[in-house]
């Protein structure tokens, strides 16, 4: 016995140490051009056992973070048979907050007494585990999880969701300080994942919504656009959605900046890549009713100018015909 845990412990610690230091190995073992978004993890995992360990650790942290936000109350999705049986999730049993958090289809892993066939064992389980009935379901302040996002991205710098969701949580502090910290956090992520569409989009989105700085946002969106074009053939569905967002926001930003040609170019490029995207179709055709008044005015001016131009052209054509 003496040797077994010793060996296991040693192996674990070695793997742990090596996993944490594996950043240095990435340049050697990763493909020359890391792919965008979540693919980075997958590629690394297949290339490196150490990377796998690191990825697993950060994934585990991700799950634990979710658990902490529910103060330890473990939730699970409803099964199909439970849905068919009319069972309701956490969100539907509480008034407003839970619905907002979209937990209609989850229940507590430890069932409530009326759903639990275990009798006394179930009572003991509920008494000793962090269990709350669905009607008492609540959430901890997500800001408590900020250090965990820092930790998981420290352990696995290619864990894109850690960077993006972490920045969103940091930005819950709506002061300038909060915004700056969120941007700083995303920039750290960008340094590790320079071609990540998700991180670039999140940065752009933060500049748009918090700082109203469309110029800087466009710089990030343009970088994101380069990634989207570069990896267009290998994007997964969720990444395609991210790439679609690039063109939507680029279109809107250029419109509000009054750069019509660039807007049309971006929207057209987006439509060529994602011809079924309804938002891009609308952008190509009419002014969206979002963003600033200035944007609206700019669009109206463009439309009027275009209409004038069209009228003038029609008149000229008619004149020529005559």
């Amino acid at each position: 016995m003496a040797n077994v845990p010793l060996v296991v412990g040693f192996a674990c610690s070695l793997a742990l140490a090596a996993g944490w230091n594996a950043t240095n190995l990435r340049t050697v073992i990763d493909p020359p051009h890391p792919v965008a978004g979540l693919d980075v993890n997958d590629t690394s995992a297949s290339a490196s056992l150490l990377g796998q360990f690191r990825t697993n650790t950060s994934s585990w942290l991700w799950l634990r973070t979710d658990l902490y936000l529910h103060n330890g109350v473990e939730l699970r999705p409803l099964t199909n048979s439970e849905k068919r049986a009319g069972m309701q999730g956490v969100g539907t049993s509480e008034k407003d907050l839970s619905k907002a958090l979209n937990e209609d289809s989850v229940v507590t892993s430890i069932p409530s007494p009326h759903r639990d066939f275990r009798g006394w064992f179930g009572d003991l389980d509920r008494a000793t585990a962090p269990y709350k009935a669905m009607k008492n379901h609540s959430h901890n302040n997500p800001e408590q999880a900020i250090p965990l996002f820092r930790l998981m991205t420290w352990i696995d710098p290619n864990f894109i969701e850690g960077w993006t969701v972490g920045s969103t949580v940091i930005a819950r502090d709506r002061s300038n300080n909060g915004t700056e910290k969120a941007i700083q956090f995303l920039n750290e992520g960008l340094k590790q994942n320079p071609e990540s569409i998700s991180i670039l989009n999140e940065l752009a989105f933060t500049y748009i919504t918090r700082k109203k700085d469309l110029h800087t946002a466009v710089q990030y969106l343009e970088l994101s656009r380069v990634s989207a074009v570069k990896y267009r053939g290998t994007l997964r569905d969720d990444e395609k959605e991210e790439a679609t967002q690039v063109y939507r926001w680029l279109g809107l930003c250029y419109r509000d900046l009054g750069e019509r040609e660039k807007m049309i170019q971006a929207v057209q490029e987006g439509r060529s890549m994602f011809p079924d995207d309804a938002v891009l179709a609308i952008l190509a055709d009419q002014p969206p009713r979002i963003l600033t008044d200035k944007g609206q005015a700019a669009w109206e001016k463009l439309r009027t100018d275009a209409a004038k131009g069209k009228t003038a052209q029609t008149e000229a054509d008619a004149h020529n015909l005559n």
């Binding site: 016995m1 003496a2 077994v4 845990p5 010793l6 296991v8 412990g9 674990c12 610690s13 742990l16 944490w20 942290l61 634990r64 902490y68 103060n71 330890g72 473990e74 699970r76 099964t79 048979s81 439970e82 049986a85 892993s109 069932p111 759903r115 639990d116 066939f117 275990r118 006394w120 064992f121 003991l124 389980d125 008494a127 000793t128 585990a129 962090p130 901890n140 408590q144 900020i146 250090p147 965990l148 820092r150 930790l151 420290w154």
Partner: protein, 258 residues
């Protein structure tokens, strides 16, 4: 008189374990905890208290279970293999006494290891500025009860199978019984009445080790210690399940040719 027998047997198990340096392994594992916490501390501890507590509870749970299983699984087979059983059984003690004494020894070794790990973990947690809470003491006490159940389970398996198989089964149940029960709960409504009874039997027979783990409550914020009535029920469950396990082991061992 009986207690004297149990004490003598248990003392031999503990002395052997200490001198064999089994507990050194625990010390090394504890050192790794300190090392890891030091690494996290270097990263920055602000706001990581909850995670540190949760990680500590998970690590304690894992390591103590491994120690419990590995200590208990080999006691009986090793006695038979090394033939140290003969001079023991030549004494005026029953085989049931022998099992109880051995189990007591395994439990004490496991408790020592667990408490050592707790002490080291406490040192690690102080670096994270984790505040002491009464539920932590309750966590330790109830966890120790759970380790008794796990030791008994492992000892029983070892009476029926090889130490390796017994260790595997014990580890599977230690970490998997909760998952199995959750699965049964999810599937329960979709099966017929006869199968539902089977589910109930399986759920009752599986060791409910999860109920002895207050780690979730201790780690997360605002959970109060469990009531005295619950502790009493846990104690009764521990006593009953352990007793049943020892009897099952005895059923095999009492007439086993050695």
């Amino acid at each position: 008189m009986k207690f004297r027998i149990y004490r003598a047997l248990a003392r031999a198990v503990v002395l052997e374990s200490i001198r064999r340096k089994d507990l050194w392994v625990v010390a090394i594992l504890g050192f790794l905890i300190l090392l890891a916490s030091g690494a996290l501390g270097f990263f920055g501890v602000q706001g990581l208290q909850l995670f540190a507590k949760d990680l500590a509870a998970s690590v304690l749970s894992l390591f103590s279970a491994v120690v419990a299983v590995l200590t208990s699984c080999r006691l009986l087979p090793e006695e038979i293999k090394q033939r140290t059983l003969y001079p023991l059984l030549a004494r005026p003690i029953s085989r049931l006494d022998l099992l109880i004494g051995k189990l007591l020894g395994a439990v004490i070794v496991t408790w020592i290891a667990f408490l050592m790990l707790c002490a080291l973990t406490a040192v690690a947690l102080t670096t994270f500025h984790v505040q002491f809470e009464p539920i932590m003491i309750q966590y330790i006490i109830i966890k120790m009860m759970g380790l008794v159940v796990l030791c008994a389970l492992s000892l029983t398996f070892s009476a029926y199978m090889t130490p390796q198989a017994a260790a595997t089964m014990s580890i599977i149940l230690a970490f998997g019984s909760g998952v199995i029960v959750r699965g049964l709960i999810m599937a329960y409504n979709g099966v017929g009445p006869a199968t539902q009874w089977i589910y109930k039997l399986i759920a009752a027979a599986l060791p409910q080790l999860g109920v002895f783990d207050l780690g979730g409550r201790a780690a997360n914020i605002g959970w109060s210690p469990v009531s005295g009535a619950v502790v009493l029920q846990l104690f009764l469950y521990m006593a009953t399940y352990t007793g049943a396990m020892v009897l099952i082991a005895w059923a095999k061992f009492r007439r086993q040719a050695v």
